[in-house]
């Protein structure tokens, strides 16, 4: 729950971008699409965890 979460997402993004380019150059467009989707799903699960913890803390704080 700190700044390194930002760096983790940036690293995944750049890694997927590089992988995408490499796979596209190697002529495997479908696998490139797969890796992009996989990266998106991973980052989405991390973001959803953070959003749920935000909602829980707001709910307990304002006893919603």
């Amino acid at each position: 729950m700190d700044i390194n979460l930002l760096f983790k997402i940036a690293a995944i993004g750049i890694l997927v971008a590089v992988l995408h380019q490499v796979l596209v150059r190697a002529g495997r467009e479908d696998q490139a699409m797969m890796t992009t989707l996989a990266g998106l799903v991973i980052v989405l699960s991390m973001v959803i965890q953070e959003i749920s913890s935000l909602f829980d803390s707001v709910r307990t704080l304002f006893n919603l």
Partner: protein, 129 residues
């Protein structure tokens, strides 16, 4: 003083990361902005706990109805979350969704504040001859 430096630092770091990511993978930029927003909101939430305890202690002393303070806190919480969602949606370019969220939260807030309005009207009725 320490808190504000942390908040500004996170905002600027996220800004730099978003600019880099926008060229290669624009869809990741939205995630980075969401996460930065959440981190900054967590700092705000830590500060809010003290304020809310102060409010509750003051309301215990005075004759303010405890239920109304509960409703006020709920409405503040709803506004807090709605503002977060609206800014994320409009930042991503989806103004329509942002407006729908805004309308929805306004309706919820009005329905929650019905008891307060009702008791206010009753009070006015008593005062008027």
């Amino acid at each position: 003083m320490e808190e504000i430096i942390k908040i500004i630092g996170i905002g600027l770091v996220a800004l730099v990361i978003i600019i880099i990511l926008k060229q290669y993978k624009p869809e990741y930029a939205i995630y980075v902005s969401i996460i930065a927003g959440i981190l900054i909101l967590f700092f705000a939430i830590e500060k809010l706990t003290g304020i809310i305890e102060l409010l509750q202690s003051i309301s215990n002393k005075t004759y303010i109805n405890q239920q109304f303070l509960g409703i006020l806190l709920k409405i503040t919480g709803i506004a807090f979350l709605t503002e977060f969602a609206v800014s994320v949606c409009s930042d991503a370019g989806e103004k329509a969704i942002a407006n729908k969220i805004e309308i929805g939260s306004k309706v919820i807030i009005i329905t929650m504040s019905m008891p307060i309005i009702k008791s206010l009207l009753e009070l006015i009725m008593e005062i008027l001859p």
